[in-house]
Amino acid sequence: MPARTVTHSKPVALAVKTRRRHFAQALLRNQTALAGLLVVLGWVAVALTVSWWAPYGPLQQDVMNRLKPPSPRHLFGTDQLGRDVLSRVMYGAQISLPMVAIVAGGATIIGGSIGAIVGIVGGRIDDLVMRLADITLAFPSIVLAMAIVAATGPGLSNIVLAMLITGWPQYARLMRGQVLSIKQREHVEAARALGASDARVLARHLIPHCVSPVVVAASLDLGNVLLLAAGLSFIGLGVIPPQPEWGAMVAEGRTKFLQWWMSGFPGLAITSMVLGFNFIGDGLRDALDPRFRTSKLA
């Protein structure tokens, strides 16, 4: 006999809708989260439209005007090859934002999927995968990422691969923990009693309840991903010059103390974006915390 489709009754659907409205209200009332969202959306807008309004190209050189300070012609000054720093910072968003999205999204999906599967399957596979996660977590991320990039060579795709390898374990452990706690609940037992397979139980009854903490963890991790990527580029293992990656731009200005704008503005760009991600992550976490909702929305 096939498993019956479980549909929500009206009171349950109303409860879900009310929870979502409370979540949106909690998020929108959080001014720092809104500020963070504005900053990140601002950078997204810059990345999408930069080719229309950037004053110069990212690789456009003007050697006669190299190492010039900020001026009306070059608002952020020029670097050692006469390239406009403002334009390079703007084009840098086209590298940083997709990289962060791919790494954070990829690590979340890969790690979350692995954690969900081993959480429901259990047994030796669970032990093996969790030991693998523990081994990966035994290394500080930047050190393991450096070892992987040294093995595979520098470049954007290799640092994305290195960060995915170092990033998946925390999501796997988080999702596995959530699955283990929720799979004991009555509604899951009921679904199994009706003949639902592991895959169906996972997709319809477990993952929807487990996904919130994983999403919050991913949003809180966005800033760390950007810092790690910039750090790898800073030490020469990331994006290969002359691409306008912010960490690499800070490295180019490292020895030029008098030309502070070369490192100053790219560093400010990294800080502003990481701050935006952190504010959004904090806002999501507070909005999903039942204690916060009860105190703020009563």
Partner: protein, 336 residues
């Protein structure tokens, strides 16, 4: 306490074994022939030479046998020869490690001491200017790249104001003290050379502040949150009701209980410091293991980078063990 030590140390064994296995597998799957980096193109054209070196270094054996040789070499302290320096990696690490330990200790002292103090004061004077300072420190620490903060500090305090000495562990006009621990400040004090000790301390201050800033913010936030919870507990109210001075109630009654979550964060702080040392040492020209790792990575010196990776993962595992034991010291329930 002994049982706790044995229990926790036993868990360390599979973690370290896993780290060794991971390093071996990463080293094994490096693209290209490792012999080519050592023998050179002309020798590689001679199949007899290639076969002889493969047999000598066990590269013709099965994977498990190669792993066994790798582990045996590690036990004997043989991490291979650095392609870049042409010296045994273990000698390179022995030379560079003390500088990293000195930097790590300096930053942890600042982070733990400053973080706990700031967290306690911010909790006791909630929503005051101290609380705002904590928020700014925590926010900047978690959002600012370590390498950028290091550059800013160097530009302001060294190039701009001249308050800080230049990069390196000591002024170039001074000789390092006789080495007993490898930590210049300690060695200079042991040799009763106060001027060298002070100079080394001045050089240590700025990189320690940069490296410890993020961890200070984290520790202060956790301490503050934990203190706020404990300060509203019944036993603290009782202490105040008995007429104890506020300072005594806070320090003797509230703080020891509030420190338990902080101890967990200290474990994370050690990892953060080891990771952050990589970038900080490059900026401050600090001759430590982090800078060695960066130079090895840039030169694709694989034996060097794997040696550093293994060393740092061991230090990380040992610091987690120390934190677990400290937890047992602070909370008698955990010892049982």
């Amino acid at each position: 306490m002994g049982k706790l030590l044995v229990r926790r140390a036993w868990i360390l064994v599979p973690t370290l074994f896993g780290a060794v296995l991971a390093c071996f597998l990463i080293a094994h799957y490096v693209p290209g022939d490792p012999l080519a980096a050592v023998l050179g193109d002309r020798a590689m054209e001679n199949p007899e030479i290639v076969a002889a070196y493969r047999a000598k270094w066990g590269l013709d054996r099965s994977l498990p046998e190669q792993f066994g040789i790798y582990v045996w070499n590690l036990v004997r302290g043989d991490l291979g020869i650095s392609i870049r320096t042409q010296r045994p990696v273990v000698e390179d690490l022995a030379e560079y490690l003390p500088a990293t330990l000195e930097l790590a200790l300096g930053s942890l002292v600042l982070a733990i001491g400053g973080g706990i103090l700031l967290g306690v004061v911010a909790a006791v004077r909630c929503n005051s200017w101290v609380d705002q300072v904590l928020r700014v420190v925590a926010m900047t620490g978690s959002s600012t790249p370590v390498f950028w903060m290091a550059l800013i500090f160097l530009q302001v305090f060294y190039a701009g104001l001249g308050w800080s000495p230049g990069p390196g562990r000591l002024d170039t006009s001074l000789s390092p003290p006789p080495s007993r621990t490898g930590l210049y400040v300690v060695d200079a004090l042991l040799a009763s050379n106060l001027s060298v000790a002070l100079n080394a301390l001045r050089h240590l201050l700025l990189p320690s502040i940069v490296l410890g800033w993020r961890q200070l913010g984290l520790i202060a936030r956790i301490t503050r949150a934990s203190m706020l919870e404990v300060l509203s507990a019944d036993y603290v109210r009782t202490a105040r009701a008995k007429g104890l001075a506020e300072r005594v109630a806070v320090v003797r009654h509230a703080l020891p209980n509030a420190l338990l979550p902080t101890v967990t964060i200290i474990g994370l702080a050690v990892a953060g410091v080891l990771a952050g040392a990589v970038q900080t040492e490059v900026i401050f020209a600090w001759p430590g293991v982090g800078r060695y790792a960066v130079e090895s990575s840039q030169a694709l010196d694989f034996t060097g980078i794997m040696g550093v990776t293994l060393l740092i993962s061991c230090l990380y595992a040992l610091s987690n063990l120390a934190v677990d034991l400290l937890y047992g010291v602070l909370d008698p329930r955990i010892r049982e």
